[in-house]
């Protein structure tokens, strides 16, 4: 395979992610490490969403629910005095899978817009359940006193160690998704995205393949949720708010749907935009508004919103698609 721009960007990104803790130690600042940990965790979630949305054509607007479910399993177990990661993590995966199975089984009875609305509605229901869990902090959420314990094996409280655990989870997820989408199962899923009727006509019972895919994605996102709860030492319904699901969709589309590294690139770009947009605005636009006393950089989402609309209208392939177009133009 030729070394084109796409693979180059992906490789550089992976290399950069590997070196983050070294860099953080070098400049003696853990903020960057914390930001990147969050980035890596959300990239896992985005990759799992890409599996159903990009490859499977199932636009789920409720994917953040599994972030919350995974997180709450860890949080609730810790609250009840069970700290062992060997119990917490598998349980987080299983509970996420069960929720995905039920939600998927119902939602996949419909398609298109219906599917979008229903996944959104179920996620909202789970959000409200979180809000009403008065024993576990309800609206205010739950502080996690101790991170998941893995005996002497791994110390999750060590920042760099935890970062590498998250990164390993991301790489494993990417590898699994890569194998999955190219397997027979993956071909069946992509066929169903492309033309569900024809798939059934040539003999595929598409429902069960799509449901399986939905459950796998929910389970992976549950893992991301367990990691996120450990990262923030906190879990609250806000993690499951429907705008978080929207953010995940944006990350996937921004990076490039149905591409392996698209969601990772998209997550990095989205979080970087969140950090950079207010900063850039404060340097460029704010000075003009000094007399009025308004600081436009505080209202950076007023730029982000229309920006999303523009991405939708003019850059649907996302960043990865953009890179692919550039490398195609290069003389080979």
């Amino acid at each position: 395979m030729a070394l084109n721009l796409r693979t180059l960007v992906a490789a550089l990104l992976v290399l950069a992610l590997l070196l983050v803790p070294v860099y953080a130690a070098f400049i003696g600042n853990n903020f960057i490490l914390s930001v990147c940990t969050r980035m890596v965790i959300l990239a896992i979630a985005a990759t799992s969403l890409n599996l159903i949305m990009g490859y499977g054509g199932m636009v789920s607007f409720g994917h953040a629910a599994y972030l919350g479910i995974g997180g709450y399993v860890v949080g609730i177990l810790a609250f009840e005095g069970i700290y062992s990661g060997f119990i917490q993590w598998p349980l987080a995966l299983v509970v996420s899978a069960v929720f995905a199975l039920v939600i998927g089984a119902l939602s996949l009875r419909t398609k298109g817009v219906y599917f979008i609305m229903i996944t959104l509605a179920f996620a909202q229901m789970i959000y409200y359940v979180g809000v009403s869990l008065s024993r576990y902090g309800a609206d205010d959420g739950l502080t996690i006193q101790r991170r998941s314990q893995f005996g002497d094996l791994i110390n999750m409280s060590h920042k760099a160690t935890f970062y590498y655990v998250c990164l390993a989870c991301l790489f494993i997820t990417l590898f699994v998704v890569w194998r999955l989408v190219n397997s027979r199962f993956g071909m069946a899923i992509q066929g169903a995205r492309s033309n569900d009727t024809r798939m059934r006509a040539i003999g595929f019972p598409t429902y069960r393949y799509k449901l399986t895919c939905f459950v796998i994605a929910g389970t992976i996102c549950g893992l991301a949720g367990a990691l996120l709860a450990n990262h923030t030492d906190f879990i609250s319904p806000a993690v499951m708010h429907w705008t978080r699901s929207g953010d995940l969709i944006v990350m996937v589309v921004l990076g490039g749907m149905a591409t392996l590294f698209g969601p990772l690139i998209g997550t990095v770009a989205f979080l970087a935009l969140e950090e950079a947009l207010p900063f850039v605005m404060s340097k460029t636009i704010d000075p003009y508004f000094i007399p009025s006393g308004i600081r436009p950089s505080e209202y950076w989402q007023i730029i982000l919103g229309p920006l999303l609309l523009l991405v939708v209208l003019f850059a649907r392939g996302g960043i990865d698609g953009f890179l692919a177009r550039i490398s195609d133009k290069e003389p080979s």
Binding site: V59, I118, I302, L307, L308, L309, V312
Partner: protein
């Protein structure tokens, strides 16, 4: 018993508000095949317009009238500037694009009106209660909402079923090509329909603003409920949306009032007080799940959208 009657009326009132939102959503979806998440933003804008213009003019009805026109115009502007470019694209594009609009509107409100909510003050003649049955008083304002929303529902029904525009709307919902073949100015029709949908959402928002307050993000939770209502009623069906709205409003409101008490009969008080709120907030979604199992296309699917 009296409390129950009051809860039923509250449920009816909430259901009718839901209908005002769901009607616009389902019209826009049925005719333009557009999923508009930003519909809740128009509800919010309606609330802020209502609060602002009633305060500015000092007249409640005058302010509301201006606010209605303002949301209508805002809706038409949004259609011309943004939505028009989304027609014919796939639904993911609609979701993303209108998600962007939500961020924009929330931030715009924060910029103009500040982060704190805004009250809409009712005039004395509305801010009172009325004897609906001997010895039973009910909020005059909530009653007014019920009457207004029922009036709008009736008006919508008449327009859709009895007029030329309504015929076009029905034709559009079931057969997009045909409307084009009839030589109608589709662009204008779409802008108009979108504007009316916005005004309906705005009306719901400004009516709700006097009960709660106008707040940033106020339209988002109710928008999701409106989606649930549409799923239950059947996409593209105004009649379905109407029945499902009232159903959902009643179940949600009455459920919240009744379920904790019912659970106390079966569970220990502490378990009941935990499970009660959780279960009652789930009720409406459980209803949706049941409908999905029994009739995946909703209770009253529109013929063109099966």
């Amino acid at each position: 018993m009296l409390l129950f009657l009051e809860q039923c009326l509250n449920g009816l009132q909430f259901g009718l508000l839901l209908f005002l939102l769901a009607a616009g959503l389902t019209l826009v979806f049925g005719i333009m095949d557009l999923v508009n998440l930003a519909h809740g933003s128009l509800y919010m804008m309606g609330a802020y317009f209502g609060a602002t213009f009633t305060a500015l003019t000092g007249s409640y009805l005058g302010g509301i009238a201006i606010a209605l026109v303002a949301t209508l115009l805002l809706g038409m502007a949004v259609e011309v500037i943004a939505m028009r470019r989304l027609y014919g694209r796939d639904h993911l594009d609609h979701v993303l694009g209108t998600f962007g609009l939500i961020l924009f509107f929330n931030e715009l409100v924060r910029l103009i009106w500040g982060p704190a909510g805004m009250n809409l003050t009712l005039p004395g003649w509305l801010n009172t209660s009325i004897e609906i049955l001997p010895g039973v008083n009910y909020s005059m304002y909530r009653l007014a909402i019920i009457v207004v929303a029922l009036g709008v529902a009736l008006g919508l029904y008449l327009v859709v079923m009895r007029t030329r525009i309504g015929m076009l709307i029905r034709a559009g919902a079931s057969n997009r090509e045909m409307t084009g073949a009839l030589g109608i100015n589709i662009k204008l029709l779409y802008t108009f329909v979108f504007g009316v949908g916005a005004a309906l959402a705005g009306l719901a928002g400004m009516m709700q603003a006097a009960i709660l307050t106008a707040q940033i993000g106020m339209g988002e939770n109710i928008l999701i409920l409106a989606f649930v209502v549409i799923i239950i009623g059947g996409i593209g069906s105004i009649r379905g949306a109407f029945i499902a709205s009232i159903f959902a409003g009643l179940i949600d409101t009455v459920g919240r009032a009744v379920i904790p008490d019912v659970l106390k009969l079966v569970l220990s008080p502490s378990a009941a007080s935990t499970a009660g709120p959780a279960l009652s907030s789930m009720l409406i979604y459980l209803l949706m799940a049941i409908v999905l199992v029994v009739r995946p296309a909703g209770l009253f699917p529109a013929p063109g959208n099966r």
